[in-house]
Amino acid sequence: MIIPKQKPLEEILQLTDAFENILVIGCDGCSGIYQVGGVKQAETLATLIRMARKLQGKPVEVRHTLVLRQCDRQLVATTLRPQLENTDLLLSLACGVGPQTLVDVFPDIQVLTAVDTFGMGGKDRELGHYFEYCRGCGDCLLNETGGICPMTRCPKALANGPCGGMRDGKCEVGDYKNDCAWYLIYQRLKAQGRLDLFTKYRPPRDWRIAQSPRKVEL
């Protein structure tokens, strides 16, 4: 899923300072599932903004709502259109796709995001952190690299790793605390008896495939 993280409250309060009628919009997709921008978080944020503004002596009308998926233009239109009267700010709690969809659908209303987005990955509930596993390069290498993505998990996105910075299976970036992606690839391919895939030379990638913005025909 997409990895979202709410911006610091201070920053959100500053961003919303000049608005009078705010609609905080959660998303029940990735952001909701990760409990960063679901309906509960939208409600909490609405309350916090309301309280802060009251304390500042600048009361504000803040409501909250939820879109099933903020990346879906049609869902955004049908869910939000009936709720927009007098609204001067749409504050999105979705990943970076959500606010842009809001801009597409409601070009006349200000849209701000309360979230920073960190790409595609997953969450380890026990460790309590997210990890990035895919950057959507458009030419997936996983079938050749033992199911481990060097484009995302190697900070240099090397096609022919590991680099000389690998020590004891750890990466030079981040003080040798993180696994070297190419070491993991080596281990997997070795276990599968496919070290030929490791030794194989991979020519430079065609970056046009990864060139943004992309439109993908399904």
Partner: protein
């Protein structure tokens, strides 16, 4: 394999002739003139066949390698091994620099992936890594063997290069390192310069591991200017350990009050230690030579070589 290819550089001629070969290293730092570079180069000329010129090493914002490589060849007569990393330039810029290197008479390129920018003094920099050491090696081969760019377009008067690569004898585990060298051999790397080792055991082990690889390999050595540096290497550089006996001797010398005496004794210890290490490497391994990195005290290189009795 390299022996069948013509040799365009003194380095390659020496390696092809099977001579035990020495290379040195020049590190242009945060400087705006060539004075220091030339001073270092002068101390090496006549003692090493060629000297590496570093390319923004460890991602510290330093002078590049291309200019100083040209200047040490022109002004000092010291052949350059121009290091090129993939950290800062995409394939267009690397190709452009290679053409310029050719026009400047540079013959040896060391193809490196490069350290990540986050390791250096400007960690905010955007990492490029459009190519890596393997694909840069491939590009250099294409230019040299076919006279073409990556898209098979002809180059007018294509330059001729020899391309070297790095290897790390201290890699743990060692197998991926060996497989990488196999990959680079298949692409056409012509010489290897290793990361630093401190004991004959490390040199022997590594040369045994790569017995099947037929690329001449120069073992990396780095004399230790002071006990502080030796201790730092052991404590903080992963995969590098100065042997206890040497460390103890250096510690003892570091306690000498008189600075000139302390410096001289430390210097002599280095000459003896690394001189006999070179001798052993030559006697007991298949290494093609040694790459001696003595940044800032290049004069020690000739003493180590003399001590080793190789020449």
């Amino acid at each position: 394999m390299s022996p069948q290819r013509p040799a365009y550089s003194d380095l390659m001629k020496s390696l092809n002739a099977g001579k035990f070969t020495f290379t040195g290293e020049i590190e242009p730092e945060k400087i705006g003139s060539m004075d220091e570079v030339l001073e270092g180069a002068h101390k090496l000329v006549g003692h090493v066949v060629a000297a590496n010129v570093t390319d923004i090493p460890q991602s510290f914002a330093y002078m590049n390698s291309l200019g100083p490589s040209y200047i040490i060849q022109q002004e000092v007569g010291l052949e350059a091994v121009c290091q090129m990393t993939c950290r800062d330039r995409n394939r267009l810029a690397l190709f452009g620099d290679l053409l310029a290197a050719g026009a400047m008479g540079i013959k040896n390129i060391l193809s490196l992936t490069g350290d990540h920018p986050s390791l250096g003094d400007t960690p905010e920099a955007k990492p490029v890594f459009d190519l890596d050491s393997a694909s840069l090696t491939h590009l250099i081969r294409k230019i040299t063997d076919e006279g073409k760019d990556l898209k098979d377009n002809d180059i007018h008067n294509p330059p001729k290069f020899h391309v070297g690569v790095a290897a790390n004898p201290g890699a743990i585990p060692i197998e991926p390192e060996i497989l990488k060298l196999e990959r680079k051999q298949a692409i056409g790397a012509e010489f290897v310069q290793t990361q630093v080792i401190y004991t004959i055991q490390e040199a022997q082990d590594f040369m045994n591991h790569i017995k099947h690889i037929k690329i001449p390999t120069l073992i990396g050595l780095c004399p230790l200017r002071s006990y502080k540096i030796a201790k730092w290497v052991t404590d903080f550089v992963p995969g590098m350990t100065v042997p206890d006996a040497l460390l103890e001797q250096m510690e003892k010398l570091s306690k000498i009050e008189d600075k000139p005496t302390r410096k001289e004794k430390t210097y002599l210890l280095n000459v003896q230690y690394f001189g006999s290490l070179v001798k052993e490497i030559r006697k007991t391994t298949q290494a093609a030579g040694c790459h001696i990195m003595a940044i800032g005290f290049e004069e020690i290189v000739k003493e180590i070589i003399a001590e080793s009795g190789v020449r």
